[in-house]
């Protein structure tokens, strides 16, 4: 979602590992470990890679489950459209989508991102509409 090439993904992964490594000794356990983990990862993804904002659009389709055959080509295409639409979301919207995919509750999302649950629900609905529109246009 935040990186579109293998190299970018590796860079982001390494960046997150560095941040986790540096921050872990100071983790005070005031929140759940997973919440803290998401905070560090998303904060790194949102703010850490701005130098690469103007990346070359050499997007690889995210790894799809094994066993994708020609029969599923249409589904793959649709998925591709959806991923492309997600790419066009802003950094915060991407973070919300990511947490939604990870099946985090709105309460957890609020704890991670610091956006109120009400606001998150509104944003989620808007994101879904936006994605529908973007996928249609792509």
């Amino acid at each position: 979602m935040y990186a579109y090439t293998t190299a970018d993904r590796e860079d982001l992964f390494q960046e997150i590992v560095i941040q986790l490594w540096k921050a872990y000794p100071k983790f005070r356990g005031e929140s759940k470990f997973s919440t803290w983990l998401y905070r560090v990862a998303l904060n790194t993804a949102i703010t850490g890679l701005r130098k690469k904002k103007n990346f070359i659009e050499s997007r690889e389709l995210a790894e799809l489950p094994d066993g994708i055959t020609e029969e599923n080509q249409k589904r793959e295409e649709q998925l591709g459209q959806l991923y492309k639409a997600i790419e066009q979301l802003n950094q915060v919207e991407k973070a919300i989508v990511m947490l939604y995919m990870e099946e985090r509750t709105y309460e957890e999302m609020e704890e991670i991102l610091g956006i109120s649950q009400g606001n998150l629900r509104v944003k989620m609905n808007r994101i879904k509409d936006k994605l529908r529109q973007l996928a249609k246009n792509n």
């Binding site: 390494q14 560095i18 905070r39 998303l42 703010t47 799809l64 489950p65 995919m101």
Partner: protein, 198 residues
Amino acid sequence: MELDDLKQTWKETTIKKNKNTDIMDIMKHKSYGPIAALKREFRKQIVVMALLPLFLLITTIDDISKIYTNVLFWSYVAFCVGMIVFASVNYRIVEKMEIMDVSVRSNLQQQIDLLETRLKWKLIGLRIILLFFIILVEVVPYFQHYRMLDKWHSLSPFIRFGAYAAFLILQYFLSRIVSDRKFGGHIKYLKELMKEMQ
């Protein structure tokens, strides 16, 4: 296709293992982003400010005895020490931001506040220091470095003060341009992110 349909695929997605698992090697990876940029900037400042007086000392090694009583040199050393302390304090503040005991939004807010405050202090501080050095250059030759009285001070006060004014104006604009280039981009980007979080 809806976002909910993607959820299933997302769950089934196999994550490619990263080739590099050596943490020490990963640590060598250059970090980007506002926090990393700030830390780099403050680190650079500490090193440069520590090296400058040393450089001055080395270049005047032939006449080292004079340096011990040189008011301008010691003022410069005091300025460098002050800058090192300021940069060290800043570095520690920035380090605290990596703890992430707060939400992403609060952390962003902290980053913006910190960047803006530091920037303001730095600009004001540099102006005051430049003014202080100008006063020093004007005053010191009357009780030390008498040779300057025959050189710089022999020029008309209009030329001297005109040069100081030009220097102050140049510093005003240059420091703004430099800090905008170094921090301004980060601030703008973080403010945009904060707006997206509203």
